[in-house]
């Protein structure tokens, strides 16, 4: 019997290919999303769970920040016997090289020797207890070591950082995993070495700078978390930041909560638990909708197998046998969907990782545990999805079937509400996807007020006089039109200065520029007539307004000093369009002042060759310092990478919801058409044309899509309005986008429904009326 049941099932699937494809594909795409999102959520929630001492490690924070001064750690150790150990951390970007290697940019993490004992990062070579005990020692991560040296270097090899400090390699560690709150770093350097790098030997005792994260390891069975108030009191006595109440509280955060912490710093990621909760909700919703639609579709389709079921009942099949048969079929379909979902997972793994900024490795996740959970899950889904169809099928009246009087009961209103709900989601998502795309295009095409074409920039930390020499070398390259040295470019926004002016608190961005800057970037400047001097400045139009100066200002006082205004610069954007254009002032870069960056304008012909010559000149002059060129237009495009990703995520979810809803709508239309079979036959006999029948059948579904559209419009409008609040400059919420979304949703619905409507409308009426 099992063989026969399997045979009829397989043949039924083969004969009803469209149903089979819609069911299996629909289910597997849902499972694909559920699998990937579940793995992602599981990984995110597992952050920092791998530390052996996780119950005893805490991170100190103060409100929304978490930076402390270096002496804070030793002070706490002295005052609190509950503590076993502590470590401080700080990330810095720099470059490193071995004796005969190229110079490579990297992220350096400075940490105390105890770091490797407190946290459970795996060491491949070297002893974690002693690796960072001595000053000027470094542990490399494996991939950076291989990138720099081509192989794992011997312990004791020298590494130089920023052409300034020699370090001894005392260990190699595994790469920093993604499921930790620490930002990725390439090398781990003994903490006091930072003083040598910055030429600040007394930084370890100073409370001046509070930009170091602080972690403590408590002794077992102690309650350090209750000491927050006491710690605050102690810090208030020694640290200006607490004395002057720039920091007003102390929190002692378990390390397992740091991944989602609201306290930020340079060294740690800032992940939103809210986003994960939304994703979890989405996973649940996808599952629920898929199951509901699968149930509807299977029950609708089961009427085509009613004869088989009826005969089996007549010749001895019990309800229990038929129930089990249907349940097994549901489980088999679930497994087929799971198999297909697995295959699809590997195809979309990279896209998924890019979208969610993660590094899921599906091969690694194929553990016995995960696979067992997935299999059990699918059995559960198979059972849950199959139980309702199984009960319905087992209840088929064999007599009615044999007599040809069998009809599936038309679904009641709740099913139509379900379909409407799904179309509401589809319309909202389509509208959102369009608007996100519209906004991103708007941002990319917005005139920022400065030249982007053939413009590149890079940072260069060589002494000021060498920068001038190098500038000269660049200017000699035939493909280079002009070169500028600056502190601050339109891409990085310059530096910030907050000051009091006429009893108002103002916040300005400031730039140090050379005389080439404005002409190179095609930024119009209106001269004020003030004479050129080395302490002159330019103000942008927004600054003139903020300082309440006349239209042609000549001077303004800042910190009791005169600032002659040489010209008024036409407003240009120096931050992405999420921020309003603000006031800025520009002063002349002094001859002995070290610039942050070069800006080079190329002539436009043979740019590739010119860039190669720039690299060569730089490499030769700086003796191999790493060079990272940025093209203006590429960087501007990348400002909106996050919005691009959001748009893509919305698009993928739209696609998913469409697939799931097609299952449901397919089922609904099948029920509906079966009910109307006799009526259609009679109408045709009475003279109705095919298109009139089609219109009649589709009208009912169209009504529900229109209701969804009406409800979806204000929801989409509100959601998009809220999202656009993140941007100072935004596109319009045009009416035609809503209309287009509604039109597309209606198109999808009609296409789905028309499959059955068309078949019913073109059927020979005699066939419909044969058994009536």
């Amino acid at each position: 019997m099992i063989y026969n049941n399997l045979k009829t099932f397989v043949q039924h699937l083969w004969r009803n290919k469209l149903y089979s494809i819609i069911t299996i594909l629909g289910f597997s795409i849902s499972i694909l999303f559920i699998l990937l999102l579940s793995l992602y959520i599981k990984n995110e929630y597992s952050a920092d769970q791998f530390h052996v001492n996780k119950e005893r490690i805490f991170r100190l924070t103060h409100g929304e920040e978490s930076g402390f001064a270096p002496p804070s750690g030793p002070l706490l150790m002295q005052k609190f016997p509950e503590l076993e150990d502590f470590t401080r951390t700080r990330n810095i970007e720099g470059f490193a090289h071995g004796k005969e290697t190229q110079k490579l940019k990297n992220t350096m993490m400075f940490a105390d020797a105890s770091f490797l004992n407190i946290f459970s990062f795996k060491m491949i070579e070297g002893d974690k207890k002693t690796a960072l005990i001595r000053k000027s020692t470094v542990v490399l991560t494996k991939s950076f070591a291989l990138k720099l040296f081509g192989k794992l270097p011997k312990i004791g090899t020298t590494l130089m950082i920023n052409d300034k400090v020699d370090l001894e390699i005392t260990g190699i560690m595994d790469d920093v995993p993604t499921n930790t709150h620490f930002n990725k770093f390439d090398i781990l350097i003994n903490f006091p070495t930072m003083g040598e790098l910055w030429d600040e030997p007394s930084f370890m005792e100073s409370y001046q700078s509070n930009s170091y994260d602080l972690y403590v390891l408590t002794k077992p069975n102690t309650n350090f978390q209750s000491k927050a108030a006491e710690i605050l009191k102690i810090f208030k006595e020694v640290n200006w930041m607490f004395k002057r109440e720039y920091a007003k509280s102390i929190e002692i955060e378990p390390i397992t909560e740091s991944y989602f912490s609201a306290s930020t710093s340079y060294n740690v990621k800032n992940k939103s638990e809210g986003f994960l909760k939304i994703l979890s909700g989405i996973v649940f919703l996808i599952l629920l909708l898929s199951i509901i639609n699968y149930v509807n579709l299977t029950v609708a389709q089961s009427s085509f197998r009613s004869r088989e079921i009826a005969i089996k009942k007549l010749i001895g099949g019990k309800k229990k046998d038929l129930l089990l048969q249907t349940l097994w079929e549901s489980i088999i379909l679930s497994f087929l969907s799971l198999g297909l979902a697995f295959i699809l997972c590997f195809q979309v793994e990279q896209i998924f990782n890019d979208l969610l900024d993660t590094k899921l490795n599906l091969i690694k996740e194929l553990t016995l545990n995960n696979t067992s959970i997935a299999l059990l899950f699918m059995i559960g889904i198979g059972l849950i999805s199959g139980i309702i169809p199984a009960i319905k099928v087992a209840r088929f009246d064999p007599i009615a079937v044999i007599k040809g009087k069998f009809r599936m009961k038309e679904r009641n209103t709740y099913s139509r509400i379900m379909i409407s709900f799904q179309y509401l989601i589809i319309i909202t998502l389509i509208t959102s996807a369009f608007f996100i795309n519209k906004q991103t295009s708007f941002l990319r095409n917005y005139q920022l007020g400065f030249e982007q074409e053939n413009m590149l920039t890079f940072e260069c930390e060589i002494p000021a006089e060498k920068q001038r020499v190098l500038k000269g070398l660049f200017e000699k390259i035939p493909g280079v039109e002009s070169v500028s040295l600056t502190c601050g470019t339109p891409l990085d926004g310059g530096n910030n200065n907050c000051f009091s002016y006429k009893n108002k608190q103002l916040s300005f961005q400031y730039f140090a520029v050379d005389t080439n800057f404005f002409s190179m970037l095609n930024i119009p400047v209106r001269k004020t007539g003030v004479a050129y001097s080395k302490n002159m400045c330019w103000l942008n139009e927004a600054a003139v307004k903020a300082l309440e100066l006349p239209e042609t200002p000549t001077n303004f006082k800042l910190n009791n000093m005169d600032n002659p205004i040489y010209g008024v610069v036409k407003d240009f954007h120096f931050r992405d369009l999420k921020s309003q254009l603000g006031p800025a002032y520009f002063y002349i870069l002094q001859p002995d002042e070290q610039a942050w960056s070069y800006i080079i304008k190329l002539k436009g012909s043979n740019n590739y060759e010119s860039i190669q010559k720039i690299r060569k000149a730089h490499n030769e002059y700086t003796v191999g310092m790493p060079l990272e060129l940025e093209f203006f237009n590429e960087t501007v495009r990348n400002w909106y990478k996050a919005e691009d990703k959001t748009g893509k995520i919305v698009m993928y979810f739209t696609f998913l919801t469409v697939i799931i809803s097609v299952m449901g709508l397919f089922a609904m239309s099948l029920y509906y058409v079966q009910q109307k079979r006799k009526e259609i036959g009679l109408r045709k006999v009475s003279g109705a044309k095919t298109k009139e029948i089609l219109r009649m059948l589709n009208r009912d579904f169209s009504k529900w899509v229109i209701i969804s559209f009406i409800i979806a419009c204000p929801i989409s409008w509100y959601a998009m309005n809220k999202w656009l609040e993140n941007f100072a400059y935004k596109t319009e919420l045009s009416w035609w986008v809503f209309a287009l979304a509604g039109f597309i949703a209606m198109g999808i619905a009609l296409l789905t429904v028309s499959f059955h409507s068309w078949r019913a409308a073109t059927r020979n009426p005699v066939e419909s009326l044969r058994y009536e």
């Binding site: 026969n4 007549l314 010749i315 007599i399 044999i402």
Partner: protein, 232 residues
């Protein structure tokens, strides 16, 4: 010996608004080995009676004794158990399963009875031989003619040697030649001892029976004995 005894059998179909008395105090006895035809106009209750006789439905009132078992009021599972191996069905529209071949269709009742693979093969082959359908054992219903399909349906009905066959307009979808063949087959089975109850509109087909019962409005109006040995 009476295989079937019905006393004061009634069947009422109820909906929210309407009550229909499909069978009204039917009293009937059918002997073992008898061939009975049930006739009457559409809506007279023939199929309803056949369904109750075949343990597919329960009467609303009265007694039904089948093979010395009181069966009125039995639950569906109990009726299924009683039906298995004891009652075979033949329908107007054949009702074969399209996804299974001839052999598998005929074998199905034996599978539900838990008979072993080897024994099933033997029994199915024997009955297919008898129906002259062995050469089509691997074919599917859609590859057979109407007459051949009905022969397969009869083979399925008799494969487990049931004591009773219920036939609901068995020649309704067949031409006269095939119809005659089917009736001769049923007659042969009856001669071998199988009790047959057949619903028919055809006077010609009714002529094969020992007794013809006429129903009208849910009541037995006449009974006509055609073959004397089964007369009271």
């Amino acid at each position: 010996m009476d295989m079937i005894t019905i006393e004061n059998l009634t069947k009422v179909f109820r909906t929210d608004e309407i009550e229909t008395l499909a069978l009204n105090n039917i009293n009937l006895k059918i002997k073992k080995g008898e061939f009975v035809a049930i006739m009457g106009p559409s809506g007279c209750g023939k199929s309803t009676l056949l369904n109750i006789l075949g343990l597919l439905d329960n009467p609303s009132g009265g007694q039904y004794n089948f093979n010395n078992n009181q069966v009125a009021g039995l639950k569906e599972g109990q009726r299924t158990d009683l039906r298995k191996g004891n009652i075979g069905f033949v329908f107007q529209s054949f009702n074969l399963i399209d996804e299974l071949n001839v052999f598998e269709n005929v074998e199905m009742p034996l599978v539900y009875q838990g008979i072993s693979n080897k024994k099933r093969k033997e029994m199915v082959s024997k009955v297919l031989d008898r129906m002259n359908m062995s050469h089509r054992a691997q074919h599917y219903p859609q590859q057979l003619s109407g007459g051949q399909q009905q022969r397969v349906a009869i083979a399925r009905a008799v494969v487990s040697n049931p004591g009773l066959i219920l036939a609901d307009e068995p020649t309704g979808n067949l031409d006269s030649k095939n119809g005659q063949e089917v009736m001769e087959l049923l007659t042969e089975l009856n001669r071998e001892g199988t009790t047959i109850i057949m619903v028919t509109h055809s006077i010609k087909d009714a002529g094969y029976a020992h007794r013809v019962i006429n129903l009208f409005d849910g009541k037995v109006v006449t009974e006509e004995v055609l073959v004397g040995e089964f007369a009271e």
